[in-house]
Symmetry: C2
Subunit: 596 residues, 2 copies
Amino acid sequence: MSYIAPLKDMQFVLNELANLSEISQLPGCEDATPDTVEAVLEENAKFCGEVIAPLNHPSDKEPSFWHDGNVTTSKGFKEAFRGFVEAGWQGVQHPAEFGGQGLPKLVATPCIEMLHASSLSFALVALLTDGAIEALLTAGSEEQKARFIEPLITGKWTGTMNLTEPQAGSDLAAVRTRAVPQGDGTYKVFGTKIFITYGEHDMAENIIHLVLARTPDAPPGVKGISLFIVPKFLVNEDGSLGARNDAHCVSIEHKLGIKASPTAVLQFGDHGGATGYLVGEENRGLEYMFIMMNAARFGVGMQGIALAERAYQKAVAYAKDRVQSRDLAGSSGPVSIIHHPDVRRMLMSMRAQTEAARALAYVGAGLSDLAHHHPDEATRKANLAVYEYLVPIIKGWSTEMSENVARDGVQVHGGMGFIEETGAAQHYRDAKILTIYEGTTAIQANDLVGRKTVRDGGAVAKSILAQVRATEAQLAEVQGDEFAAMRRELAAGSAALEQVVDFMVANIKSDIKGVFAGSVLYLKLAGIVLGGWQMARAALVAHKKLQAGEGDAAFLRAKITTARFFADHILSQAGGLRTAIVEGSAGVLGLAEDQF
Amino acid sequence: MSYIAPLKDMQFVLNELANLSEISQLPGCEDATPDTVEAVLEENAKFCGEVIAPLNHPSDKEPSFWHDGNVTTSKGFKEAFRGFVEAGWQGVQHPAEFGGQGLPKLVATPCIEMLHASSLSFALVALLTDGAIEALLTAGSEEQKARFIEPLITGKWTGTMNLTEPQAGSDLAAVRTRAVPQGDGTYKVFGTKIFITYGEHDMAENIIHLVLARTPDAPPGVKGISLFIVPKFLVNEDGSLGARNDAHCVSIEHKLGIKASPTAVLQFGDHGGATGYLVGEENRGLEYMFIMMNAARFGVGMQGIALAERAYQKAVAYAKDRVQSRDLAGSSGPVSIIHHPDVRRMLMSMRAQTEAARALAYVGAGLSDLAHHHPDEATRKANLAVYEYLVPIIKGWSTEMSENVARDGVQVHGGMGFIEETGAAQHYRDAKILTIYEGTTAIQANDLVGRKTVRDGGAVAKSILAQVRATEAQLAEVQGDEFAAMRRELAAGSAALEQVVDFMVANIKSDIKGVFAGSVLYLKLAGIVLGGWQMARAALVAHKKLQAGEGDAAFLRAKITTARFFADHILSQAGGLRTAIVEGSAGVLGLAEDQF
């Protein structure tokens, strides 16, 4: 099999780090019993490994293609999507009243990871549909919910997010698409949207486009943007399909990676106007879109982790199989390359970063469940604040990390890695989109600095740091080099992160550009420290279980070694990042434009 | 123009850091007068920018292709190669007696940079031909030199290096290709070679393959390898072409990048045996190949710098042109994205690393000239030792750096970077080969640790560190934040590097795997510290010139700012690398194979 879901690590993180047992006692999460969760994960792993994962490489070689406004997806995608939705996988985290399984986000998260690890390109249709469902659940009218959500959950239809325009990129203030009210409650939509993932395809009978547009009297900028449902085919009262709407795919992009997922240019209203239905209130579109985007950003973070896991598995398999050169410590003949120290170093780096990012993301998912389902409002609010602090880190750091992991994956393969046939290069190409879409790393970092750090004077960041310090104290109580190394590097990392938070809060008013010059570095530093914190927590659990003679000893010992690797090799970067942020803005901003 | 050679920076490095004036007084280097050098660089820049650079993106879209044993190269390559060789560019650094220009390596180096920046794929034919020329100059008989070198320099023919075999990868001990003496001084060669760059093409009338093979009585392992000339067409006494030799291209690879350069599988001897001529003595092939490889490794390092420069130029152009979002410091409308701090940070990081690697490589080229041309043997020897220490760093660090720079180049373009049409993605794909071929970074690092560091007890490394310390002392004499930052980070970096050298020398015997677990990190640390050293030297020169009112003030001030950026953002990583090397081997080596 080209992908075997890391169920053991997933279960460990769910149970030991992300408090599944607590989450499953929240109102509305009661279905997430240990047995159910185990069964869901095992079934999902089986489906993803057997049905989706084998499509990944062939679909890269024969991507989706455009013809006369239609898009034919890669061989096998249509059938796999049927299997996916019929097994109920689109609905894992969505409400049972609309046909979903109503499981907590924490349980959906490993499912999402498995799906994306199997094929990023395939999984995107589910990710975008999730986003559309979330937006409609949040802001749709009862009638819209009743009409649109169930077919999205059952996979009869799929969803898209239409934000970007040729002139607007990430700057939504520049959106120009117009929505003109028709007096009957509907609107006519006119405009061009680009970079629309699965904006056209042949895997479902209808596509529900969620489109940002301006009404005629809307104020300028982001405060004048509304959200519209623009279905590819209009939907009759009884839910059957009506006329073809004036929303057409005029081309798809030729991309570096995720080639099997069609990235559409959509033209709305070239033939009289595309019929659209306002979601929620006028001019609140950006707010609704942000709900959807936060979910999507978390999802893209999971893509990074998923891709990293798959690249790691591929590299491990090659390193165990490929025999070349003698062992440094002396052997008579050539050995498999996993015996060579630098190959080992790359594999450990891939593994450690993937495990750390997984742990942080799952913990984040659990916080999201607490934020939505906990009976106590103050507890909900406190958890929401921490979750929202983590979202840009989970998105930004996990995807930046996945680029490095995919790169190391090619490197482990040596010359064979550069040959497309091998498949390692696909991961390297695919990874490059993850730090760009749903907001580049810089946009995540702006969010982290602006809305999540300086706005509350660093309070949430400091509250997390207090928890990190508690873990440091626990590390001090355990004997052994591994735990000493973890404690040393985690303490240095948390100190660096605190200094950076203080620096940002202190300087945001007097030197805004100097602060933002370090924003991405701050995001990376936070990812490293919080990822390292999770690895340290994991090592402490592993130690305790080993002491008690519980669990899989080889797995638990590997966890401690991996946590130690993370401390020495990844956490140790914290000091350099601190210097670059706190000392480094003069170098960033010193040149005049014409000196470039 | 898609590429404008950075002549100002090149001249600055040649004259101020690499001591061109000293080099040009060496015996045999006298032609490198300031006027000649300036003219050579300007002409080369013109030719590369106007003729080669425009081929780069189209040839990626329509790469070379194989048909019935022949390879048709991308449109325009054949004509461009004619122009290249007719202008004498293949011969810049080769002896005048064989038709070359006889200029020092230091002057050839910027020419090589410009050629590779224009098109890596195109330039590879010249790089491999250079390697063949070097090998024949070193080890060829007088008759072989007379017959083969001039046509290689004039571009009538081209050269290849045939090392890799399907089962052998980087492990030359495993080479199986056989060479059977025919009793007439010739050999019949039988075997398969893979990954042969320009192993077949239509740009010249003959191809001179240099092939590693074993004679029947050769000892096993690397001590039984000999080097053979195996021309595609046999060459008659008078230099005219004879019969087609039994060396055939059976396929070319479908690669992630450098798609326009054909990477051939060559089959020798399937039809009776390929006629080959021994170069030098039997069983000394590896030694000769290493001469060629050291030159080629330096050349691949230059490829990294060249690609980084081109990716930087592309990103700068886009960042100045693309208008999006308001300025953070407040502006009424959207601004070009070069005003956004994180875009600026990425551009500075690309720029600073490219300039540092350029400076280090050019300084290395100058040392090579001293090592070959200085009249005093002790001076030659001392410079050779430093040059040889630098070669794996120039190769390994410059290419690892170029991956990051090409990655940032895509990132600056945002979503457009992921679209192949834009061209930034090509650099990202092309870059990935550079850390692999001519020896992966790990192989460079093994060379750096084994042959270049521990063998002499760290003596050469320490001699270089003494020079770094002298620069630190000079930094202390200059006022200002920039120089204080440079001094702080350079001192921390050189201390870290010294500790690592001591660690390696002290532990190589007792813990060889623990030492090599940090080999690539040591290579990166050495690159950062020595690159930072060159940037500090450059800043000192710039300061002195500004004080004296000499030179281009904007350029010189930019150099100081860029050096400061390098100190705060790149040199600051030294401490983390030190920790990972000195503390980190337990984490690298701790897992058993079945724990992966």
